[in-house]
């Protein structure tokens, strides 16, 4: 239960960084932290106390394996989600570099003023 609560705290930290910081790179890091928090939430859903990794080895009994292994489906979902997060992050970083080239500043408030 405390694990879920700490995970939620991580999400709120990411949201705080995204909303209240003015530097573009800090906002990007806020989005990255939020993505970590959601991926962690998905993995925590499949967690089982004193469980074994869901890898079937040659001399394992099927019944005990099903009883004690952690859930592998969220792990597959998280793998895809990490790749998607990577793509979004790469696009954000490239756009931040282009914004710096164009406006000469990383401060989000000045970029808003320039648009008019």
């Amino acid at each position: 239960m405390t694990l879920y609560f700490l995970n939620f705290v991580l999400l709120i930290i990411g949201l705080y960084a995204l909303v209240f910081k003015r530097h573009i790179v800090k906002k990007i890091l806020g989005v990255a932290i939020m993505e970590y928090a959601v991926n962690l939430f998905l993995i925590l859903l499949g967690f089982r106390k004193s469980g074994v990794p869901p890898i079937l080895m040659k001399d394992m009994d099927m019944a005990t394996f099903i009883r004690t292994a952690v859930d592998p489906l969220p792990q597959a979902l998280v793998l895809t989600s990490i790749v998607i997060g990577l793509g979004t992050l790469a696009l954000m970083v490239a756009m931040a570099i282009r914004l710096y080239e164009r406006y000469g500043t990383f401060d989000m408030d000045e970029i808003k003023r320039l648009r008019g």
Binding site: P53, I55, V83, A90, V93, A94, I97, R98, E101
Partner: protein, 156 residues
């Protein structure tokens, strides 16, 4: 006394990089090839191989790594990996009636050549992901060079 400007990082970083690169590549290849038996598969293995090239970029500079695998070669490798995935899916559609149908013989479990077409998918994904990360990093390195020279020109 002014020598030629050295690209990349210090001598210590370059030595450690020389030692580690081979290990990273071999371990990445192992994770990819045994992806259907042990955890891993195409994506983590591809990331490790791309990280090996990124390490060379950080330690030695952009020109050295471009002479090893150029930007164009990375882009072509990226496309070939993606095309391989889709063509394999189409072959599955042709043979089995559903997309991504497993049409190769499945073999015995826990062996290297089992589980049908998963090993070919792992290789294709490794090519795609590795080359993608590599050319994204190369593009960002080129962009950074443009921004730094613009700042230097402004200061002069």
């Amino acid at each position: 006394m002014k020598g030629k400007k050295q690209s990349g990082m210090t001598f210590i970083v370059k030595t450690i990089t020389n030692l580690i690169i081979g290990f990273m590549m071999v371990f990445g290849a192992y994770v990819v090839l045994y992806g259907h038996i042990t955890p891993g598969g195409g994506f983590p293995g591809g990331v490790m191989i791309a990280l090996a090239y990124i390490l060379i970029t950080l330690a030695y500079g952009r020109k050295v790594v471009e002479s090893m695998v150029s930007g164009v070669a990375g882009s072509v490798g990226d496309d070939i990996g993606a095309l391989a995935i889709i063509i394999l899916g189409f072959i599955g559609l042709w043979i089995g009636g559903t997309f991504l149908f497993n049409f190769l013989p499945k073999g015995t479990p826990f062996e290297l050549f089992s589980a049908g077409h998963i090993i070919i998918y792992n290789l294709a994904i490794m090519l795609k992901v590795g080359m993608s990360l590599y050319i994204v990093f190369l593009a960002l390195a080129i962009l950074q060079r443009v921004v730094v020279t613009r700042n230097e020109n402004e200061e002069n």
